[in-house]
């Protein structure tokens, strides 16, 4: 069944992409990192100072987000600078938009039925 749905998808994200995306969002610290770096850039050490966890632990979270294309990491001198990856975030947004589209179309069909009286 899953195959038959996928065959109709024009431009699907691969299952692996989706797995990475949802895995990335499954953790509260990672969600907080995404919120912060979408607004401003942070160094990994700057992020590590915000949470009660080691530099290495924060670095791992950043790596998960990087694999999910939600953030980018760039070396600048001795620092690693983390920024939001707007394209990746837009993909996440698009997934939810698609679900919303199902319901908006259902609402239009309900209104059509109601209009018949």
């Amino acid at each position: 069944m899953r195959l038959s749905y996928n065959q109709m998808v024009v431009d699907p994200m691969s299952d692996a992409d989706l797995d990475r995306l949802f895995q990335a969002f499954a953790d509260a610290t990672r969600r907080d990192i995404v919120r912060r770096v979408t607004v401003a850039e942070y160094s990994v050490s700057g992020l590590a100072a915000l949470y009660a966890m080691s530099f290495a632990a924060v670095q791992k979270h950043v790596a998960v987000l990087e694999r999910a294309s939600l953030v980018t990491k760039e070396k600048r001198g001795r620092e690693q600078i983390v920024r939001g990856n707007h394209e990746g975030l837009q993909n996440a947004r698009r997934l939810l938009d698609e679900y919303e589209a199902i319901w908006r179309q259902r609402v239009v069909r309900i209104a059509d039925i109601l209009a018949e009286g």
């Binding site: 989706l18 698609e98 199902i102 309900i110």
Partner: protein, 165 residues
């Protein structure tokens, strides 16, 4: 023209949509209660739904399949967990195999439908919550198939034609 609002919360794995209809609560309740009306709107025109089983009472089950353009079938089931006519309906929604048996591995969505009287008009609130990231992923994959068919601009055009939605 009435605004339809929606809230998508990736973190809470939930989705809420509010729509208003130019019909009374009792009438809107019928589109949920009557499987013949329900199957006219649950699936898109290209994938219409057919409800073979519809036991509309708390603890009752519904079974349906959607038929694609090539005759392919995709099955689903509902379990009604709470029914308070004509104001609130709750059900679990999952996938089914070719024999209508639940596919446990694909998870379920819990839906809460609330109808409120706005002095002859009706506000309908749908809240869907997903049990896991994987479940939401599967629902969204299905959503892509339908969503792709109608770009956001086209949907807006349809909505503006139906000025009373």
């Amino acid at each position: 023209m009435t605004v339809i609002s929606s809230t998508k919360n990736l973190e809470a794995l939930s989705f809420t949509l509010i729509a208003e209809f130019d019909a009374g609560v009792e009438r809107v309740w019928q589109v949920w209660e009557d499987p013949r009306q329900l199957e006219r709107w649950w699936g898109p025109p290209t994938w219409p739904a057919t409800f073979e089983q519809f036991d509309f009472q708390p603890g009752g089950k519904a079974g349906y399949y959607m038929t694609g353009p090539e005759g392919e079938k995709a099955g689903g089931w509902w379990l009604f967990t709470s029914i308070q006519a004509p104001s609130q309906l709750e059900f679990d929604d999952g996938f089914a195999d070719d024999n209508g048996a639940p596919v446990e591995a694909m998870g379920t969505t819990h839906a809460v439908v609330t109808l409120e009287d706005l002095g002859g008009r009706t506000r309908m609130t749908i809240n869907s919550s997903f049990e896991s990231e994987e479940q939401m992923e599967q629902m969204v994959e299905m959503g892509m198939e339908e969503g792709m068919k109608e770009a956001a601009g086209q949907i807006d055009a349809i909505l503006s034609e139906h000025a009373r939605i």
